[in-house]
Every structure is written in C-alpha cells, then in structure tokens.
Amino acid sequence: MATATVVGLGNIGSAITTLVARMPGITGIILVDPDSYDESNLATQMIDRSALGKPKVEVQAASVLAINPRIQVETFDEPVENVPLESLRSSVFISCVDSRRARQSINRIAWRCASPWIDAAVDAPSLIRINAYSPGEKAPCLECSWDQASYDLLEQDYPCDAADLSAPATMAPAELGLLAASLQAAELRKLINPAPNQGNSLVGAQLMLDTSTHEQYLAQFKYTRDCRFDHLCWEVETVNFDLRSSRLADLFDAAQTQADPVISLEGHVFATHLDCIACGKRSTAGLSLYHRLPARARRCPCGGQMFAPGFFSFETLQRSDLSPANLDLKLTALGFRYGDVITVDSASSRSRHLGIGAGQADE
C-alpha cells in the first residue's frame, strides 16, 4: 500500500493524477497547487470547460475520486513550501512544477521525509525530461548537479516591484505533458511495486527524450561532497498538542532539554512587525510566522504589500530571549499548524525534529 504526493497540477500534473488513481497499490494521494484553471489551460492541460475558475486541487481531486472512490485524497491549494511537512509525507513525491524554486523545495521535502521523488519537465516543442532521486546521506540530489549559474537562475521576489513568483506558463503541447506524465507514472509503478519484470528504476538518473528526433539520452547523477544541500533525512518524533490551547512555552517544554533550546520551522521566519512597502505604515502584529499570516494581514489598507524586514525577523527562537508574554502565545496565534515539524537545537544535544500532532486534521 502506497501513497503519492503530486505537486503542480498543470501540463504534466493534470495528466498524472488520473494515472496515479488507476495504479494498483495506491491508497492515498495528496494534491498541492495554489492556482486555479483558466481559459489558457484548456489547450495544454487535461481539463475541460467545467474546470475553469476552480482551484486545480479541487478539479483533480474530483477526477481521482471519479476513477477510484476508495482512494484517500487530501488537497492543499497553497505553495508547497507553506504546507506542513508531515501533511505532505507519502511514499513517493511526484514533481510537476515549472520553477526551479519549487523543485528545490520538493527536493528538500522529499529528503526530510526520506521518500523518493520523481521530477518531470517539458520544454516545448519536443523535449521531455524525467529525473528520479532516492534520499540518502550520500545519494545524489537535485542540487548536487547545480553550479553557481544554476543558483543564479532561481526566481527572486523583489520588494521594489509587485512580485509575481509564478513562472511563466510553459505552453507546452498537451501531448508532451501527457507523455511526461506517462513516463513518470511508469517510474512510480517501479518504486511502489518493485518487481524483476518491471525493469530498472530511474533513481539516480535522468531520462531525456526528444520527440522531434526520436532520440533519448540517459544520464547518471553523482553525489557531490560540496553540495550546498545538507542531504539530511529527518527522524520525526510526534508530539501531540492541541494547537488552540497549547502555548509556545509548551513547545519548548516538549523539547525536554536541559540546555536553553532553540526552535525553528524550516523555511519560515518569525516576524514581530510588518512594514508597508508602499506607504511605510508599520503594523505590530506580535510574534508570528510571516508566511502563515492571512493574506489580509500582509496587505496594507493602502493596498501595498506588508513585509517583515529581515533584520527584525528571526529564523530561530531561543527560550531565554523570549518575554513571558511571547512564551504565553498560543501556537495557533503564532501560525503553527498540525503536521509542522519543529527543529530543536541545543548546545547539549543533536538536533531533534518534533512533529506537531501528526495525523490530526488541520483546522
């Protein structure tokens, strides 16, 4: 019995969901995409007019259940970076995204969960690329093959313009996405149901296919000692909390360490106040996870975007630095969600990873 997390439900992702739904052994599927379908998607994605204007996750969840009503489907219509790690955990991650930044996030998430991931990409008019990775301390990851130029190409949001981090639509033909999805599904089948007659897995390699020349290329990845990614798979200890009544101090108590513990939520920063980029208005919302603030809290009444200036934000919280009032804050008020994994560091012991009430439904 296996589960799959599909991130990105566009050209490739809209095709693979129905293939996954039909695959024997798949009992659950997690769908992640922050967008909705629009008119321009009709030509390149596996949808019909009834999908227009609807969240992609909602449309694809309905397609999956129409094929296999017994499959358990969970959806997240938000960027994958914002979804709690334990809520994404599955046997295999399937990446159908169109930005380096999102791909880099999926690589990190898959490693933390110690689950293999299969990445697919298309480049109009004729190229398809499938990569597969299996996490391990010395296993090749996405970033092992990156040089500085690759990092330079990562998408960046600027405070000086209205940041739109969504990558431009690939506009690759639907058949290319469908073919990439089929190849991805074939690799998924090998991973969840390894059998001698299924051939070799693509793990640790890349398959490139050019439909214009019918040529294919297979390249092996190599682990790089100087890779900028730490390659750590996490052992997550589940700690049950009622987020509405538990306080930040309880989180520190759960760390059960003698030394002054430091906690962090990977990929997130804690902000104490926000400033409007347009009018300069300052809002003192109190300590909270910036990316978990509701959209309205990050929008100034003047219409400008409210940002947390880096110098006054914190990637970690140390108990001894916090006021009693901050320690008394409820975890929901801070922005924590069920499934978040808190990293606890202290001078006296190695890092621990505490999953908040994993298995409970998010509120």
Binding site: R101, D152, Q156, C160, R228, F229, F311, F312
Partner: protein, 178 residues
C-alpha cells in the same frame, strides 16, 4: 545547508569584509550576531540625500542592517530579507523606502563585499532606477529625472583609501570564533 559549508562561507565573508572596512574611510562594519557572524550593521560615511521639510539635503551617514539567512547559499532570498535600511528613515532615493531597499538581483551566495559595494553605489547615486514602476520611492524617482546634473552625489568610485588594496588579511583571518 551544511553547517560546515555555511560556517566556512560566513568566516570567509567576515575576513574579507572586515579587512576591507579597516582600510576604508567610507565604511564601518559591525558584526552583531553569530560566530562567525551572520548579521552586520554597515555604516557608510559618504554623501547621500535625505528628505527634509524644505526639500532635499545632503547627509553623510547611513546605516544598513545585513542578515544572511540560514539558506542564503541555496535560496534566492528576497532583498528585503537580507537588507534592512536602518538610518536615516528619511533617506531619499528611488531604490530606498526605509526599512526597505532594493539593490537588484541578489544571487544565492553573493558576497558581503559585493552587497556593500552595491549599497555604496546606491547611496551615492552612482546607481538608481529611473523607472517609476520599478522604484520604491516614486517621488525620488521623478525628482531624480529633473536633477540628473547633480549625480553622483558622492563621486568617489571606491570605498577604499588609497593603496589599501594590498591589505594584509592575516589579523582578521586568524580571529577564532568560539
């Protein structure tokens, strides 16, 4: 990010930038957190502009906070996460709206010295955006287009004192962090 890779990178940034600052009559750099430091306050003693009730006047002290987030070598962090304009809060420049400032693209792993140089060029109006749709301070942007003859406000191309480029890095490099 591997702790060892990040620590080694931070150490090299510290050595390079502190050595540079010791030989500069424009720049002072104060590490404020971390060993090796990941957070600095940079003070620039050069001519820039600030808004006053009478209009615009020249000032010669500017403070910027610089923070290298944990994933700085891997992720394209927002310039707003890395740079925080501290003083004066009346700084007048198309690319500055305290506490925000925008030096353009900051690639993952861009050196501290490069960031300081970009900031210097910006403060002295050797670099600014003339596009209002790209500006943090649109008023400064339109003002700049009417006063192009005034730029740069500070004409020094380099932050270094005369021949200090041959600076000896040993004393800084040998500094051991706990």
């Amino acid at each position: 990010m591997s702790d060892a890779i990040r620590a080694s990178w931070l150490q090299s940034q510290y050595v390079e930038a502190m050595t540079f600052a010791r030989h500069s009559d424009v720049l002072s750099l104060a590490p404020v957190a971390g060993a090796p430091p990941y957070k600095y306050i940079a003070e620039f003693r050069c001519k820039g502009l600030c808004a006053t009730s009478e209009g615009v006047s020249v000032i010669d002290q500017h403070l910027v906070g610089i923070l290298f987030p944990d994933q700085y070598l891997r992720r394209n962090c927002s310039p707003g996460q890395i740079l925080t304009w501290l003083e004066p809060d009346t700084e007048f420049h198309p690319n500055i709206s305290p506490p925000f400032c925008c030096v353009g693209h900051i690639a993952p792993g861009m050196s501290l010295l490069s960031l300081l140089h970009q900031l210097y060029l910006m403060i002295t109006w050797q670099r600014f955006t003339a596009r209002e749709d790209d500006a943090l301070n649109r008023h400064a942007c339109s003002w700049a287009r009417r006063h192009l003859d005034r730029f740069p406000i500070d004409p020094r191309r380099s932050m270094l004192n005369a021949p200090a480029a041959q600076a000896n890095t040993a004393e800084v490099a040998n500094h051991e962090f706990a």
